[in-house]
Chain length 333, copies 2
């Protein structure tokens, strides 16, 4: 049963509630703490991206095609479609000699307001590079080029790349491949349904890859180094993933997913945790994520202050009057 | 305890859930049916607007200032900021000789995508007329002009108009005035916290005003006639309130509120019902509203077909692939 994680307060009343599930797991696979049902089964959504990037590193494609760490960080991103994201995607495609039309992620206006307004003001429409998943897709195209896989159906579950990725996910999350429920993600590729516990376990391995075989350990370190070195590539301006990794100074690996999904790895504690908001909304998610970090003792007072707008957002109306606050109320058990 | 009203399905999994409370009440005040807690206490938000419009009619201001039924419908609106809404607000202000700067509702880009894009494309910023509540505020200014109240603090609880409105709300909802929890609404005016049951009761009176004193009965009929005659003024293009009243052909009075609030009056059944989504999201609200109407036998097959995109929305991704559906699963008790 999902528990109330966050209250939406207005004046003297709690107006709305956000429920969810939290699992905190160490790299030995022990469930350290939880709220709600840590085995709740749902789709991992974009929080799986750092693991979906493993084949780029493990295939040796980075060296072969001259892929930089900044570009690798973008493979793990749900980016905001700012100029530096779009330019980087185009540069990756140029390096591997693939045209933009091969990016089969669909399109939407950039999450970033200014970037979105620029497109609308120009009377233009967004293209596939603006899609928040275009980094992940460009990474998939890198692997296809490296391994000589066909490009035109790389999003299909039957494609060799996606078969390989399903194996990687099952192996990394220690979850039987045949029990993973596969759906279609927002960008058309397979999305993986498995328990919240296993999402958290994967992030415990990102935080502490010493439990993995040597070659995978190195690949994981390459990916998490890229994410913490280039946090602006993983999200964008004023995005929680970017802010958390910037403020975390190398200790935190953080990645959001659609439908209220979030995962964090905490290196010095060898922990991973995962959150699934029951209603799929991002509104309660940021407060729940920062509050979990606070209760785990993973943020000091200065870090909490820098992340306050994600932790305890103010509810201001169309006139900018302060109407209420968003307040996490759960206790990790 | 809020119950699950709506499932968000993707492939074979239910990915997210939306919980809520429903109260169905007849004009005798009997709770006919419910889901969750029919006495859940929350803010009524914009679903209170038709009742907040009563002083405009009851004061005689409509005749005095030449206010039309179309304009009255806009007083009850959370409009989309389309040209015909904006022009109507400006026309009301012109009629009462009040400048636009007196509209103290704040501003935001229009809900309507095309109207919003037009402003962004022009490099402009939205003004107070674009705010979804500018109709309600212009109605408040009409009453102030009629009664000689000051204009500059009409949004404050201590202003005679707001004192009057609190009395109207308490009286109309049969709820003790001193127990109403007053907060600040999205547009700066007082917002009323009272049980979902009382919201439903008010809409039962909108559906069947014969239980009210004669003068109020006439005012209610004037307001609900305006709403069903000009449903496009109450919401806008492709908005559920507008579609419901258009398809309802005079039998349904429907008004949304922020934070997952919705109220409907069903004339031929002398019923009102109210829904509060626990998480405050509008995503599950439309399906819950139409499903409630279906279970109450208030929509025939053709009406259900016309409202299908509000009842059983498809979940399509950035590539327009069908990924899943939104499905109401509750049974009215």
């Amino acid at each position: 049963m999902a528990e109330v994680l966050v209250e939406i307060r207005r004046g003297q009343l709690v107006e709305s509630y956000h429920r969810g599930h939290i699992a905190v797991v160490n790299s030995d696979g022990e469930l350290v703490s939880s709220v709600g049902d840590p085995n709740f089964l749902s789709y991992w959504r974009s929080s799986a991206k750092p693991i979906q990037a493993l084949p780029v590193v493990e295939s040796g494609a980075m060296e072969k095609w001259g892929i930089t760490k900044k570009e690798l960080a973008l493979f793990c991103a749900s980016h905001s479609g700012e100029d530096f994201h779009v330019d980087t995607v185009l540069e990756i495609l140029r390096k591997i000699g693939v045209e933009q039309k091969e990016l089969r992620c669909g399109s939407h206006l950039p999450y970033n307001k200014e970037a979105s307004a620029k497109i609308v003001q120009g009377g233009q429409s967004p293209t596939s590079v603006h899609c928040n998943c275009s980094g992940k897709h460009s990474g998939m195209l890198v692997v296809c080029k490296e391994k000589g896989y066909p490009l035109d159906d790389y999003t299909e579950l039957k494609h060799p790349l996606q078969k390989e990725l399903l194996d990687v996910i099952a192996d990394f999350c220690k979850y039987p491949k045949e029990e993973i429920v596969v759906g279609i993600d927002g960008c058309g590729v397979p999305v993986y349904g498995l328990p919240v516990y296993n999402w958290a376990l994967a992030y415990a391995f990102l935080a502490d890859p010493t439990k993995l075989e040597e070659s995978r350990k190195e690949a994981v370190e390459t990916i998490t180094d890229a994410m913490v070195q280039f946090p602006e590539m993983v999200g964008g301006s004023d995005r929680i993933c970017t802010d958390l990794m910037r403020v975390g100074k190398g200790n935190l690996i953080a990645k959001a997913g659609a439908e209220g999904v979030y995962c964090v790895g905490i290196k010095d504690k060898k922990l991973g945790f995962a959150i699934k908001m029951e209603d799929g909304s991002p509104r309660g998610r940021g407060p729940a994520v920062i509050e979990t970090l606070r209760q785990l003792g993973a943020l000091d007072d200065q870090q909490l202050e820098e992340l306050k707008h994600h932790h305890l957002p103010e509810n201001r109306n169309h006139r900018k009057d302060l109407c209420g606050v968003v307040k996490p109320i759960f206790k990790l058990k």
